[in-house]
Symmetry: D2
Subunit: 415 residues, 4 copies
């Protein structure tokens, strides 16, 4: 049997989830229409390691309907939605994923999807690419894609060591991913996670956002939009100056720690909230992390200075410090939008998965021409995804006249 | 045994919830401090019918610590938090409430708490006051409070018919309730309910808010703060003009129905979204109600024009119309912030429950003087609650100088 | 000759200004259409003391085109726009006003316009009403209107003393004046005045708004909208709590005075910024007043603690304190939006002048019925003005269905 | 005499303006302190062609106090502030500039300042650099700076033709210029120009911003902040999608032209508002340009379709079209923030002039090492300017710990 899922009986439930996702992925639906009309991926074999979610299902169904044969394994033992996996299996996708699979299962599933002799690999984290390079050098891969920063770093290292065996497109670097995922997707879902786990009122609270990169901006603007008084902590003076000009108070953590009522980290750095900062905090302070890794809050340090710890409600742990103050840690310091909410809305995944689908087509069409390097998403694909997203949302944009196109050219070259 | 709850073993869990609520009810904690210091309610017997939630527990504990003896029944069979009830029971409150009680239970519990010969009654909806007037005319009640609009309307009718037997303070009419409950509390929790039940992205969506009263404003400003494009539908020209000057697009529902992607009703009126409006809507439109009664969306009409209905996820039902478009109804058209989220955050209940506690003290202190009418919350209590809220939040406000107080007086009387 | 203006040759220039105003007064233009169609004011004589501005001209032309004979004098020697006066004179209005008239001229002009035997009086400040009561008791006045708070206070005093000889409608109290004038009109023009007189960047500045009434709110929201970091100073706990829930920092002036870079008063009170506060301020602090009277900033005290004063540019005076810090006072502490900018935009005057025109018609139509009191603008006029404003802006609003009207009635009376 | 100005008697007035500017240029004041302490520019001769404004004076005074000898000519015959020029002359700057100088004067003044044998040239537009290359090849120039995009384009062309004789730093490309000048400076001053020339109310208006680059964003966010309903017109799908996700309506000009009440162009392109668009517009539409060149609105076409043109007030011209509608053009389609307001506030110039001063020092210190190319502002200078700006505003930012610096390094190189 060409699949392995928890319970094939969940297919109907899964199908409903996928349809709900597809309704909110208009760009991908436009891409699907195009690829299906051209039967673009006919004859192509794809093996993919991705989070098996309803949005991934929308991508995989697109690839299949465009002519490809797809085998899918999960990229994380906890993220697989078993009903979605069942629906995909029923639809003829070779899916090998279930929630709670062991590390052995994880590697075995990867080996299974590689046994279908894929032409193209899609990966989320770089484990599949690594496995192929290490143990499946016989495979004739024409190219691959990679969704994450972490995966891209690993592939870049391979490129530098001259061992990369096929071109890989770093979907992560597309503007349509970068500009929206962090600011819009994490911006909303981080606040969602905080509210779901605490049900506190945002209005009137002092919210400290640590880091004013794309994630931090997205969170800060939404906190303000819900009535919080927002403080930004940032070490980069350019970003700090932008924050000031955007109307936010800016100060170092040592000061902000005494004023904040909700703290959210989004720095990409370690111990953005340290033990010392926590000692400063008011009774009742809430700590959440919106950065990728759970290193931004010193959870270990927090444990050391606490005399008592208890769970108040799911994802909400109370640490009572020796000084008597109670500090509330959300989701153990892990990404609050994934742990305590539902991660990116489908509308956000729409952008990166449209890039994925178009990049697969691009690799297929250019298989002879691409260098064995980590490549950026071609600008025309990136721009096309934005265009299709708008089209799918029924939003028309301005079209430059011939005269305007000429003018812009002239300007670029000087006069 | 002086209580009846689902499971007294839940007391510890309930106590944690109550403590979490009290942490976010700084005004009530200030009130508690004051009343306890004066032992204000010594000798007073109170019977209360209220939603048995962690916030109500904070109120009831305040009354008890200030010297009162309190008996409590639930005001709604679905709203009782059994762990909270258990904790209260353990604390010596005469609590008679559990989730899922029958209508018979409901009336029996009311009769039980009346059997303690209360001096003051607290009610949420007016059933307790009605019951006393109908069947317990022997009781010597010195006064009561009422939390809701509905209850106040019923009591006003009794006042007009000259049958009201004791003074009742309409806590609902306090500025500190009115101005914050709707705008801030429902504003946040309605959007919370929409996100929890759909996980859609708010940014970029066309959100139609039907009604620009306090609730509508609170929702509209937060939708905008999360990146939605907001349209207001309003029949009152003054409110509509305010909406325009606040920067919102304003149009009648017949037009808005064709543009919206998320619709939220907050009009207090019937069929604010009618069958005809729904026929106009785009595929994928989401309908939610933030008004008190589930009459604002014509749910029956929606059912009539649908050829298929199915549940996608909890609180999210898909109606496929004859025209092929899919309409998504949240929480069956009931208050989305209660049904699909957690209702008002503790910070909001803090205001109305501080009014409750101070009004109980006020009735007790003025028992000889108050008329047998529906009374407003005294202005000095209303203002005091605001002051204590700010104090509890460590926010200082300006104090008028003697000169300034003189000047204001002078101005009022003209020169 | 039935007019006295500075230079009739300015009429063409004045006409352009009036047309520019009328273009931005769509409600008044709708009122004009209606009154003219009915020839409503046929045979009516009106004498008016108003600021002779392009907006007033639009009102006066409306009255005339609807059939009235109008005589006009200026309500302030500095506010008359001579070109507008000339254009009105040319149009057949009996205008007696010029910029820079003496106090004697002012009273003489009032006497002149009263010599036309008016039926209705329109006033701005109450001097005309007072003059009639004192010296022209022979006149047969059927009623009047009053534009300002000050005038209303004077008339109320007359009413209380039982000396008021005719009904006067207090246009000032209309919702369509009250809700928009202060928040929207002063909100914009106060910031305009600050920028025109200083050209400072608002983004990133700490702006302290003293007073969170309608004016303060209008200013605060616009400061935030331009990137300022806004602090609210407010003595009323209810308003202060609203400010906090709207996301502003709130603190007493003694603290805010140390943090602010721009200060704007809008309290209606005396010495909202005192000498002591000014001593606390940073070098470079800017002080502006947006309240009606120039008592809110202690200008005299500022002079006392300054060791040097000089004008930097028009409306911008530098006070160097003994402590070496430089404080900048705008427009000598007078209303910054009138002194340093152009006061209310025409769009705002549109609302109060539509009320004026409709109230004149109302008095005329009800001349037998009205009591000799200070009356509020009838609710139906107030609402109609809002409706006509929206209509003139081409904005449609919702219309209640018959069913909805029934439901609202039912609800009001309880069930 | 080493200067030529309009009237040396204006020096005192000019000095006040310069002091007002310096008060709002905290970064430059920090730079001044540093350079003066080190006497960094001792022995250096600088000739500069810059707009002779109060902000430029603050820069030039900084260079002089740090040890340089400075000769200054104006970069535009209209931008010279004669009082500022007088104050500089009195201070010992060799200034040759006056308002209204002829083109001959302009070139003669450049020749005069070159006669002082400068080491470094500062230019705004590239004319000085061109003149040196064409006619003063004998000069021993060690380097130069250039403030504008236009100048940079000209210099790049020279570099490509291998004729550039010395290194030039393109100050225009600094993040601290680019990110703030356009968004914050033009954002505020464009709206200021619109209000000053029209006094229209922004609240409730439909404002169409054409172009969602940095300038467009700055304007759009401020329009929203003042209560306008904002529509974005944009041809680039990525920017258009950002606008949507920021909550703005997006549509092509052909549609927006029918809805807008105020239009502002910021595209950098020709005929962003064409004759055809104008034919669509409502009676009363206002047109303003915030782009550098006056090509964005088809002013010529507007003239062709108008049957009548007249000036209403300064910078506000009324064009009556054959269709009877009146269109209002601000400042003849030239940059509205310069023409009708005062251009960038000092706070914005602070950033680019701090870069200028530090780049001059950098060229001086590295005179042997720099290549004869158009160079970017060194990243450490760019970042330092942001840091000094914050310092000058008394804003502290976070400092990375040693551990955090290590972590960031590690991350960059992968693990």
């Amino acid at each position: 049997m060409d699949y392995k899922v928890k319970d094939i009986g969940l297919a109907e439930q899964g199908r409903k989830q996928i349809e709900w996702a597809e309704l909110h992925m208009p760009a991908l639906m436009e891409v699907r229409k195009e690829l299906v009309a051209k039967n673009s991926l006919k004859g192509l074999k794809i093996s993919a390691v991705l989070h098996v979610t309803k949005e991934t299902a929308a991508l995989v169904r697109t690839l299949k309907q465009a002519g490809a044969e797809v085998a899918l394994a999960g990229s994380n033992p906890l993220s697989t939605q078993d009903d979605v996996a069942a629906a995909l299996a029923k639809d003829g996708i070779k899916v090998f994923a279930w929630k709670g699979e062991s590390e052995d299962d994880y590697y075995q599933n990867m080996n299974i999807i590689l046994s279908y002799n894929p032409d193209i690999l899609m990966d989320d984290g770089g484990d599949l690419h690594a496995l192929v390079h290490e143990k499946h050098s016989n495979l004739k891969i024409i190219g691959g894609t990679e969704e994450t920063t972490t995966g891209v770093i690993r592939l870049k290292a391979m490129e530098e060591d001259n061992v990369l065996k096929y071109p890989v497109i770093a979907v992560n670097n597309a503007f349509t991913k970068y500009l929206f995922d962090n600011r819009v997707g994490t911006g909303q879902s981080a606040i969602d996670g905080i509210i779901r786990s605490t049900n506190v009122l945002i209005a009137g609270k002092v919210a400290v956002v640590v880091g004013y990169g794309w994630v931090g901006r997205g969170i800060a603007i939404r906190f303000r939009g819900m009535g919080a008084r927002v403080i930004i902590v940032e070490a980069n003076p350019l970003r700090a100056l932008e924050a000031v000009m955007d109307g936010f108070d800016v100060m170092p953590m040592v000061k902000a720690s005494k004023l904040g009522e909700i703290f959210v980290t989004a720095t990409g750095n370690i111990n953005a909230i340290s033990k010392e900062h926590i000692q400063n905090m008011k009774d009742g302070a809430i700590l959440a992390n919106a950065g990728h890794f759970n290193v931004e809050i010193d959870v270990k340090g927090l444990g050391e200075i606490a005399k008592n710890v208890r769970e108040i409600r799911p994802y909400l742990d109370e640490y009572t410090l020796a000084n008597g103050r109670r500090i509330y840690l959300l989701a153990e310091g892990r990404l609050v939008n994934l742990a305590a909410a539902e991660g990116h809305p489908s509308e956000v995944m729409d952008l990166s998965f449209s890039n994925q689908a178009l990049c697969v087509e691009y690799i297929y069409n250019n298989k002879e021409k691409l260098q064995k390097k980590v490549l950026n998403v071609p600008a025309e694909i990136d721009e096309k995804v934005a265009f299709l997203k708008l089209k799918g949302m029924n939003i028309e944009i301005e079209e430059l006249t011939k005269e305007q196109k000429e003018y812009m050219k002239q300007w670029k070259y000087g006069t």
